[in-house]
């Protein structure tokens, strides 16, 4: 749902000939001829098993009532083309997995496809806005690890497992995508800049441009409880909280979502995501100031500033 850092121009380039993917039988072929093809998995990624029809051999309905090991949260808004693939890969990250799809403003039958594939589906007729679906899905999630995906990007399960493993076995609370966006240029995208700056102000320059704004990422139950699921609606805020409230935040694996992102020209024209994310980072900074002081915890070597107002 959220567009991760990527500049649209880059994403546009990924529309080259795509290896034909095995299409799950559970949903119809798109009718329109000029539909875009699904995002191609990163090079070297495990190609999903071609023989096994997705969603059939997998546990479609969880019988047991005990909490699953992994919850996968997928916000969806009109992603009929991709949702089946996303859910298929989601079920493969761990044998004991629940998939929670938060459909909002979906009118193309995405929710129905998700339900057929065995996901728990929350349906909101109106769009919730960016990332709100994550917070809602996380409230419902019961797994020990909670993996967050987007409905528009099919990432092979092999690329998702490291995030879940880091939480379940590695003692990591927040397993981030180790993707900082394109930084080898003189002038970077404002979103890339904001992420780097926030990490610097959190005194974690080692995190570079990694952030909870980018999927995929996984959170431990402890992290969900510490941060509070509501904060997930504003990913930079959740990110700041995770770092400052003592969670183990580690970039565990790189998935180049910048290349996989689909261009969204119309959306960018109406409400540029850039502006939203800039504001999100300021909200994060505001919280940081409330938690660590106006200087974000950085020392002030000025001895006497009593006579100078700190206010602008």
């Amino acid at each position: 749902m959220r567009k991760k850092t990527a500049d649209a121009s880059r994403a546009r380039r990924t529309r080259r000939s795509v290896r034909k993917q095995p299409r799950p039988r559970t949903h119809r072929k798109p009718l329109a001829r000029n539909r875009k093809r699904p995002a191609r998995p990163p090079r070297g990624a495990e190609v999903p098993d071609a023989v096994q029809p997705a969603g059939m051999a997998e546990p479609i309905h969880r019988v047991s009532d005990s909490p699953p090991a992994v919850s996968v949260v997928i916000p969806v808004m009109n992603e009929r083309r991709h949702i089946a693939g996303v859910i298929r890969e989601a079920f493969r990250v761990h044998p004991d997995t629940e998939v929670i799809v938060v459909a909002n403003g979906s009118t193309d039958g995405s929710a129905e496809i998700a339900r057929r594939m065995g996901a728990k589906v929350l349906n909101y007729p109106q769009p919730l806005g960016h990332d709100v679906g994550r917070a809602i899905g996380a409230e419902l999630a019961r797994g020990e690890a909670c993996l967050f995906l987007d409905g528009d990007m099919i990432i092979p399960s092999a690329q998702l497992k490291p995030f879940v493993q880091a939480v379940l076995q590695g003692g990591v609370d927040v397993a981030l995508n180790d993707y900082s966006g394109p930084t080898d240029k003189m002038q970077v995208h404002s979103v890339v800049l904001a992420k780097h700056a926030l990490n610097t102000m959190l005194n974690r320059p080692d995190l570079a441009g990694t952030s909870l704004t980018a999927i995929p990422h996984a959170l431990s139950r402890k992290a969900l409880e510490t941060i509070g699921t509501q904060a997930l609606s504003v990913p930079p805020l959740a990110h700041a909280k995770a770092v400052r409230l003592g969670m183990r935040v580690v970039p565990v694996h790189r998935v180049n979502v910048g290349k996989m992102n689909l261009p969204r020209r119309e959306r960018e024209r109406v409400a540029p995501l850039e502006r939203l994310i800039m504001g999100d980072h300021l909200e994060a900074l505001e919280w940081l100031a409330s938690h660590s002081g106006a200087r974000a915890g950085f020392a002030d070597s000025r001895s006497a500033r009593s006579d100078r107002g700190g206010d602008v």
Partner: protein, 306 residues
Amino acid sequence: MRRTQQARSRRAIRRPVASRGKPRSAKRLSGKRRPRGRQRGGRRSAIARPGTSRPQVKQAARGHRVSAIVVGSRSPVSVARIRQLSRLTVLETIVVLDGKDPSLAAMIRAQTDAIVVFLPETLGPDEDRSLGALQARGDILLFVSGHDSVDLAVAGRLIAAVGQGADLALTDRSASLGTFRQWGEADRVRAFMNSALGCAWLGPNTLDQLPHAWSRVGMERVGADRLAVPALAQAAAITEGLRVKAVPIHAAAIRRGKEWHDPHQEGALRLGDHAEALVSVIQRQGSRLQWPDQARRRSETGGDRQ
């Protein structure tokens, strides 16, 4: 015949422009960056060419009363440097010194006509800027560091920028910082602050760095006491709607600028300053400043936002 004449006249028009040493790319450097390839090779003359010559500096200062303020509390100040400054046809040179070296104050008083502000105690970082600004009488205030020969070209450009209507003229160092990956931690936060306040075109350029120049009007709107925390002053200048300009300086000056580097440029002091500056704007103008969130239905997450 006619053609050659035309060609000659075209050349005649061009030549003076090129030989004057006028920065052809001034606009492009301060605003949108050129594609990287061209910055490296090809027509690099625009950056590398020696900057404004001295007559132009004098021209820039003409009609203005320029106070040059040497902030010397954290760096050695040489007499030669102060003499050099007076060549800029400044109205006055103010040297701010703290208690490290009392004999220096006496020496400068004896050997130059500079106004020396001497404080026996140790000053905090950048407090000398406030003190100097309070003393200055000019309508353009040029702040320079104490320990390098003043690059007259750079100083001249700054004065010229203020003379032409800017309220705050910074040096544009972005060309010397390399790609984003090579930036320092403080540079990231500086660029973020500028961006968040709606001045993305300022890039990582900062009032932390010397030299820079204020118009008197601009300085008074921000307040002399705020100059002691450069990030606060910069944020105030932007939010007050002052005209802030980043003046491109040529490569040699940027390289020399690296020698001005002092330990306070990076690290906790600057990072904290910028956080503080942004937070204070947030406290006045609301948490998201001019970046509203119009689409999220946060109430659906069950409760107020945290």
